[in-house]
């Protein structure tokens, strides 16, 4: 520790030197370009700046500061009210979620798979959802529920959601398009925009091994999630979530999640999922 303390001024100086060197290095290729290229680049840059200014003038920012640390609570989720209280199924479903709602209307294959997974759980062989294997819960669950705090950070270009649980993150690229054929991923490809103070997040390309709940409610690779997040008051965000999946749901399904601000003293912490022990 002593060594670190003694080295601190040197390290700061060294860092400054490295930064300065990098800056010069990065500038070199530009100065080495031909004057024709320079002219072209300058013209392009000027055009872009002009377009950006015009665009900014036409669409003044209507963003709202949503940043902060929250917990995400379900208001409407697939769940237990379908079964009478006291039965095994109701117990299993209730424990898997904070439940106050109904399941999305599933197509037969999805309904059958879901019922099989619930039946296995009720038999004492719980469905091994991704988090039981130290893998991310991914979307759409990440938009619906967070027992541990999450932190939302925002800039004009990007909204970032940091999750304490398993130390995951979601990146929402603002005012961008989805790529042509994105690779499926746990959290999908998310783009966002502001609509009259509401943050609208559009997510596609979600891996089909993620689920809508911890009992294994399935979806297809065509799942499309739209979140509309608005500030209710200084301590509350409301997120209306619409899930469309023509290959798994009979119709689109809506859920609501409430984000409750956490005390500043209880921010997100390190949480590395390292122990995969599990009762079989």
């Amino acid at each position: 520790m002593q060594g670190y303390a003694n080295n601190a001024p040197h390290r700061t100086r060294d860092l400054a030197l490295v930064c300065a060197t990098l800056a010069i290095f990065c500038a070199l290729p530009v100065t080495a370009q031909t004057s024709a290229a320079q002219t072209s680049a300058a013209q392009t840059s000027a055009a872009q700046t002009s377009a950006a200014q015009t665009s900014a003038a036409k669409a003044p920012s209507n963003s709202v500061d949503l940043s902060g640390t929250y917990k995400i609570q379900f208001q409407n989720a697939p769940g237990s009210r379908n079964l009478p209280a006291g039965q095994g199924g109701a117990t299993a479903r209730t424990r898997a979620y904070k439940v106050d709602g109904h399941a999305p209307p599933l197509l037969p294959w999805a309904q059958q798979l879901y019922e099989e997974r619930i039946a296995a759980t009720e038999k004492g062989e719980p469905f091994r959802h991704l988090m039981t294997k130290c893998l991310p819960q991914g979307m759409p669950l990440a938009s619906m529920f967070a027992f541990y705090p999450v932190q939302l950070l925002q800039t004009a270009e990007q909204v970032t959601i940091l999750f304490e649980e398993q130390n995951h993150f979601r990146i929402i690229r603002m005012n961008q398009q989805h790529p042509e054929d994105p690779d499926p991923s746990f959290f999908g490809d998310a783009v966002g925009k502001w609509e009259n103070g509401t943050l609208v997040i559009d997510t596609i390309a979600i891996r089909d091994d993620t689920t809508l709940d911890f009992l294994g409610l399935p979806h297809s690779p065509e799942l499309h999630v739209i979140e509309r997040m608005r500030k209710v008051d200084e301590n509350t965000l409301e997120s209306h979530i619409t899930l469309e999946d023509p290959k798994a749901f009979k119709e689109k399904w809506d859920a609501v999640a409430i984000w409750k601000r956490q005390p500043a003293s209880d921010g997100i912490r390190e949480y590395i999922c390292e122990n995969t022990r599990y009762f079989e």
Partner: protein
């Protein structure tokens, strides 16, 4: 009215809230392997203390009917326990403890641990659950 008065008592509220904690904390796991209708108290010594996420585990050499049986006991996460007042060094290998658990449904020596009491009879890591707005 009497019931309402009791429920309005902060102490009772904290107690009831504390009962919910294990359920909430393990919310992302199914509980179906544990028999939550059954609560058992095991007494023995700590053989292993795994202070790990997503869940901490205690291997307990429990004395039962004159014999020693090793139990595998799954708890909540480090992050959750820390928020309840636990620290990694509150339990050590060799400690004599009593542990309240929900046992496995399948009858194997395992379960979900709920509460640890030290040799002095005091509950370890007990703090009042977080109260909204506090």
């Amino acid at each position: 009215m009497k019931t309402r008065a009791i429920l309005n008592s902060p102490a009772i509220f904290l107690f009831l809230a504390s009962l919910l904690l294990p359920v909430l904390a393990l919310a992302h796991h199914s509980f179906e392997m544990f028999d939550v209708e059954k609560t058992v108290v095991l007494t023995g010594t700590v053989k292993q203390w795994q202070w790990t996420n997503p869940h901490v585990w205690i291997q307990l050499n429990a004395q039962q009917d004159g014999a020693v049986t090793e139990w595998s006991l799954e708890g909540v996460s480090v992050n959750q326990l820390e928020r309840q007042g636990w620290k990694r060094n509150m339990l050590s290998v060799g400690d004599a403890v009593s542990i309240t658990i929900h046992p496995l449904r399948n009858g194997k020596p395992g379960g979900q641990w709920l509460k640890v009491t030290g040799a002095d009879g005091k509950q370890i890591g007990l703090v009042a659950p977080a109260v909204p707005g506090k």
